[in-house]
Symmetry: C2
Subunit: 338 residues, 2 copies
DNA sequence: CCGACGGGGGCAAATGGTTGCCGCCGACCG
DNA sequence: CGGTCGGCGGCAACCATTTGCCCCCGTCGG
């Protein structure tokens, strides 16, 4: 951006050939001066770098990628860009990628398996690896992706594919224990999308924890994991006699709270609500949401790190899912049973 | 993803050479069969396409882009991925791009000019064109970008660079008229980032409209265009005697409402609040926000369309900013002066 | 019957890097 | 003093695709 005076010959940028000529060496030497430190004499390398800088030379990443596919590009496919769940994940993933010299492509799949397939088809050839954040694809489709490029899935376990997940079971257990401790005995789980792996895990953990503690557990749904989905859930909830509910995620929980308030249900006096994920916003909705916190920041970082590991050594050995801890954050949406 | 049976030889994908050999033609003919419709005999082309499909051939976009830079990639740089203002913009931009056979890279600049510069440096060489959504860069830096790649700026006017803006002046005028109609006479403008072009426009329009209508106008700020920024603004506002305020954007307005409520100020009874942009969420905060609506969906579509136009015919002629209409949406955060 | 024309296809260069291999030359060792 | 070795730089092939140019051949008009 102009520190090295705009030379005006705007359209075609200088190549290693130009640098080579100006520095009186061969193009290959220029290439090595940049990508093979030590291989070329220090003085020569210095001179080349100086000349390159004067000419405003920047490597062409496309040409770079041709021989062996090293494009320095990674991709993260998210189910829904507008879901705050992904905010911290994307940010931390982006940072980790950049710190390692990679660029992260963020792609929105609009909560649709079809869109996700299309996006992958477009993106996969370009990138060196991909993070599937809460994918709606089938296990076999994901394995097919993993066969083409190093892949990490988030919040899901797929055989033979690296993954990063939160400890759903333990987190859910904490939530149920918390509610039981407040005297609740009849509880409802608000289910998320059927294609969601995490939803299955959470519902199962919910049922098991309830059973062990001798509580009545019911399931309602599926609902879209959005505010709108929460509004429908609110309707359905009023027909239930439960005094506490745990939602698939925070967005659903917040939407439900909003709908219930509108329907005249007082939270948490008449109904306690627990969410999942501790997304941006869950602390300043009214009432502030009690939720099972996922370490979102570490999530993105971890996923990209695993990806980078796969890139560095393509041994298919490791595939134990990275399990990140979850903890309960108690806020204002839960209270002692009336 | 596997309709044409996984052939197992996973790592290296077939090239036009493989297809050419299998179809008994030259590689160049294969290339033309795909990218130069009509140039090659219909039967031959059909045969080639059939063979290519059987082999599971997909063009390598990297090699495609080498000769002339046609990567079919566009980028949109947003100031803050987590700002709902961009949600609809990104979605519609993405859709428009995909419909035209392009892939849109979404890049977050974290509200920082430095991060934006870095992101551009990384991204620019890859893409055919770029949309700068509310850039924090200087005019000359933007022009430098535009010299390298077709560029469209959003919410800002830069000489010699195509742009898409909303009618800030008219929108602000509607807002002020609305408040004046409710009997307000002393009003405060909550300013956004100093580097924001739109902020300048809005404050100016605010002042002028107030003057014409004989109202007292003051300015407070700058504040970060975020919920947090709004909280600080709330503090500052309590020192003012105004009975109505217009914020730089919705996020700031919502944050301010939240802070004021916390400070015991009743909205809209004691203070009317107007936002800008009509973002996702402004309708279901409490109270629902009266705001100047920008046609967010059209924004993204329009920007990408202008970009595509520039790509199709590189004439530097057109540079009148596309002006999208703004209208006032009246909700619960404004009321007659007490 | 010959020449012009044009449709359809192939050859090869070009795009901008990377990299295996080779060769030069100076230094060091025997 | 000759042989060897290693540091350093150059040559050229390679990656997958596009495209300018040419050629072959069939057709049609003169």
């Amino acid at each position: 951006m102009g520190e090295t005076g705009d030379t005006g010959n705007s359209r075609t940028r200088p190549t290693i050939y130009d640098v080579a000529k100006a520095a009186g060496v061969a193009p290959s030497t220029v290439s090595r001066a940049f990508s093979r430190p030590g291989r070329v004499n220090a003085e020569t390398a210095d001179r080349i770098r100086r000349v390159a800088h004067e000419l405003g030379y920047r490597m062409n990443p496309i040409a770079r990628g041709l021989p062996d596919g090293r494009t320095a590009l990674l991709a993260i496919i998210v189910a829904d860009l507008t879901n705050p769940f992904f905010f911290e994940i994307i940010r931390s993933a982006e940072k980790t990628a950049i710190d390692s010299g990679y660029t992260l492509l963020v792609v929105d799949a609009h909560e649709s398996g079809e869109a996700e397939r299309l996006a992958l088809e477009r993106t996969l050839p370009l990138v060196e690896g991909v993070v599937l954040a809460t994918s709606r694809l089938s296990d076999s489709a994901i394995r097919a992706v993993a066969k083409q490029r190093p892949t990490v899935v988030m919040n899901r376990v797929v055989t033979d594919v690296a993954s990063v997940i939160t400890d759903n079971a333990r987190g859910m257990r904490r939530a149920v224990e918390h509610l039981a401790g407040l005297g609740h005995t009849r509880m409802t789980y608000l289910a998320g999308p059927e294609a969601s792996w995490a939803d299955g895990m959470r519902w199962r953990a919910f049922r098991e924890a309830s059973q062990e503690l001798g509580l009545k557990a019911r399931r309602l749904g599926p609902f879209a994991p959005t505010l709108a989905g929460g509004l429908s859930a609110a309707q359905a909830l009023t027909a239930h006699t439960a005094t506490a509910t745990v939602a698939y995620n925070d967005l659903l929980a917040i939407g439900a709270m909003r709908g219930l308030t509108r329907l005249g249900v007082e939270i948490p006096r008449e109904l306690s609500v627990v969410g999942f994920d501790n997304i941006f916003g869950s602390d300043f909705c009214t009432p502030p949401l009690t939720t099972v916190a996922a370490p979102l920041r570490h999530f993105g970082t971890f996923a990209v790190q695993r990806l980078l590991n796969q890139l560095r050594n393509p041994s298919p050995a490791l595939s134990v899912p990275a399990l990140l801890p979850a903890k309960l954050v108690e806020r204002g949406s839960t209270a002692r049973r009336a």
